[in-house]
Symmetry: C2
Subunit: 418 residues, 2 copies
């Protein structure tokens, strides 16, 4: 009961702050962001001290090195949180923009003005830097935020949030604008997900397990992506250099992230030329190939793929490969196994490029580019709060604008309806 009240109380404070947040000037918000950045830098030592508690528990629990690494607040991580907040301060304010006002026949002038969504709930796993990154983006877009990090990073999150709240209260931003749920019980998340009157949208960030848990238990709309099973399709009219470079980069440059390629589709007409070239590059990088029968006829040493391999997000130096008859074959494969994240065609053929762009309805569709570019920064959004693979509200990388909505504004001079 106490837990339930605590969470409700936190959400109510955020809701109340959100009304005020909507009307803050950019100057006030930017000053707060600068103060937050300075606060993190000034408190680096105490942040690391609090982080040490999380790290000690992590070591007791024998978490993996990778997890401990993600959990660690080094000077570098703290500086990068501060830099991130200053970069957000430098971005254009997404609130209050009216892109166009049309004039109706009766003289009414009708436009649409961007406004904040209200209260954003962020549920994330171990990385404590998300606390500062997400808080900064929500603040700049005029939203209040309720943050719920993983229990492993609870001391770090609490310390970061305290620094951020102090910076807010020293500025004209309501100090309740940034709320953190710091109880370790998982019940707290369940309570948070019920508060549809207080929280407008939930953005989960983490592994598929976390996201499915959130979706199944939330009464609040969730914007998310489960996984990134991204494809590169090498068309018969592909430039070989571009094809090899893109297929290599999309897999190898950073295999552990959602926009890396998991399956390579190859047109039958160029398979014999292309596959040995890419196989050589993959062998150098230690990439394991799981392939179809047609590929095996060309690369006899490769292991045979199962359907499960084509559905898998490896996040590792493993690639599934399939030869397809034509673009329809590629499209059918993507519709069956894809995750609506990112697909790229490599081709010099105008018609195929345009058909791919139009017919594939993943959130990012590319021609002659590595899937690794599917990212809010690379797209010029200036920031990224997450990626959506559901079509409602936002689709693809989400920046500041995706944390707003638009109301209609109507300027009249006495019009009444006949």
């Amino acid at each position: 009961m106490a837990l339930k009240d605590d969470v409700l109380n936190i959400a109510n404070k955020a809701r109340k702050a959100s009304f005020e947040m909507a009307n803050l000037s950019s100057l006030v918000k930017n000053n707060a962001l600068e103060a937050m950045a300075a606060g993190l830098e000034a408190n680096a030592e105490s942040l690391k001290k609090e982080n040490a508690k999380d790290l000690a528990r992590a070591k007791e629990k024998r978490l993996t090195d990778a997890m401990i690494n993600r959990l660690t607040l080094s000077d570098k991580v703290i500086n990068s949180m501060a830099t991130g907040l200053r970069e957000v301060a430098a971005l254009p304010d997404p609130v209050g923009t009216v892109s166009e006002i049309i004039v109706r026949p009766n003289g009414l002038r009708v436009g649409r003005m961007s406004i904040p969504l209200g209260v954003i709930g962020i549920i994330y796993e171990s990385r404590p830097n998300v606390t500062a990154d997400a808080a900064g983006l929500c603040l700049k877009s005029g939203n209040a935020v309720v943050l719920r990090g993983g229990s492993e990073s609870i001391d770090s999150n609490r310390a970061i949030a305290k620094v951020l709240a102090e910076a807010c209260s020293a500025s004209a931003v309501p100090e309740d604008a940034i709320q953190v749920i710091t109880t370790t019980e998982r019940e707290a998340v369940l309570e948070m997900l019920k508060l549809e009157e207080q929280i407008d949208i939930i953005i989960p960030r983490g592994g598929e397990g976390l996201i499915r848990f959130v979706v199944e238990n939330s009464k609040i709309p969730v914007i998310k992506h489960y996984k990134g099973v991204c494809h590169v399709y090498v068309d018969s009219d592909a430039d070989m250099d571009k094809a090899v470079n893109i297929a290599y980069n999309a897999k190898v440059q950073r295999p552990g992230v959602c926009n890396s390629m998991e399956t390579l589709l190859v047109h039958a007409g160029i398979a014999e030329t292309f596959l040995p070239l890419i196989a050589e590059r993959y062998a150098e990088a230690g990439v394991e190939m799981r392939v179809c029968d047609a590929t095996r006829a060309i690369l006899p040493d490769a292991r045979l793929a199962t359907d499960d391999d084509y559905a898998e997000e490896f996040l590792d130096l493993i690639i599934a490969i399939k030869v397809v008859d034509n673009m329809d074959g590629a499209k059918a494969h993507i519709e069956r196994f894809g995750s609506l994240h990112t697909e790229s065609i490599v081709t010099e053929n105008y018609t195929n490029a345009e058909l791919f762009i139009r017919q594939i309805n993943s959130s990012s569709v590319m021609v002659n580019a590595s899937t690794r570019f599917a990212d809010g920064f690379e797209y010029g959004l200036g920031a990224e709060i997450g990626i959506s693979t559901t079509k409602l509200h936002a689709y693809g990388p989400m920046g500041l604008n995706e944390l707003t909505t638009r109301k209609f504004v109507v300027y009249g001079d006495g019009q009444i309806r006949e």
Copy 2:
């Protein structure tokens, strides 16, 4: 079990059709819309015959005259459905639009292309004309649709849907694009609301009871508004003629609809001048006034309002009136009792007008205009599938564009990520 399978089967057909729908040309869709219009006109007699079955049952059940009126398919209603479909054909196609392509420093060209949402579920009450209207808007926006009308209009809906599907199958539109659930059991709605894999969005149209039922039972995101408690605020600097005309029009012109005004807020500084003027007009029109103490001091015959009156959507010739000290008072009242639908300020004061526009975050905010203009047609959207008072995805009247989302399209010439 049979019911569950039926509904699933219908939704699966729509899902399958939706892939094809996304790539239809405007010409194909427009031809289908024209054929649908012609089909309704050509089948007017048989439509009226089927409608007569619904009407007979309605009379047996002693439905109100208003309900029977909404249920009736007259020649006028049939012609207006046909006209509506032709108007939708004449609207610009919202699919495939790219409003801007930016060039990134590495030469990647990044834009956002509008695409259909996929499958739209519409759940509505007695008006059978919604069957044609909603089907037309979904088709034009490249979406498949699953329609579930009220049980009172089941024969009419089935007959209309049959005509529409025939028109589709005579064109290049997949005949499964328009699906109707015609079983009368309410269980069918519950089954439909579970199908999150098949249906992308649910739009309920009808009374608050229906909408709450849908929201409570849906696993699929719902876009809706519960009610329209719209306000007109007459500022101290209002032009008296405009104020009287707008306050009269917003209440009296069509009181039974969601964008009519339910509460009139009046600045204390002009209450003595303004209230007697509007009271006289209201008296002529038979409008009942429910008022605050300050109003009663000026209009002693008016009945005292309760808090419930300020929260009520009367949909009738009844108005709640309250005198407020200033714009902050108006804003506080709207935040407490409003429904995020539409609010209008009447003022000649520039600063107050701009503050109202910026600070009130209802889906429509107006200056010197009747709330009755809050409508997709009046805003120039060309159509209206519904109104949203939730900020996610769409806010305010929804036209064809609001039935689409945007994917990222990326044109490269071999870029890889460093």
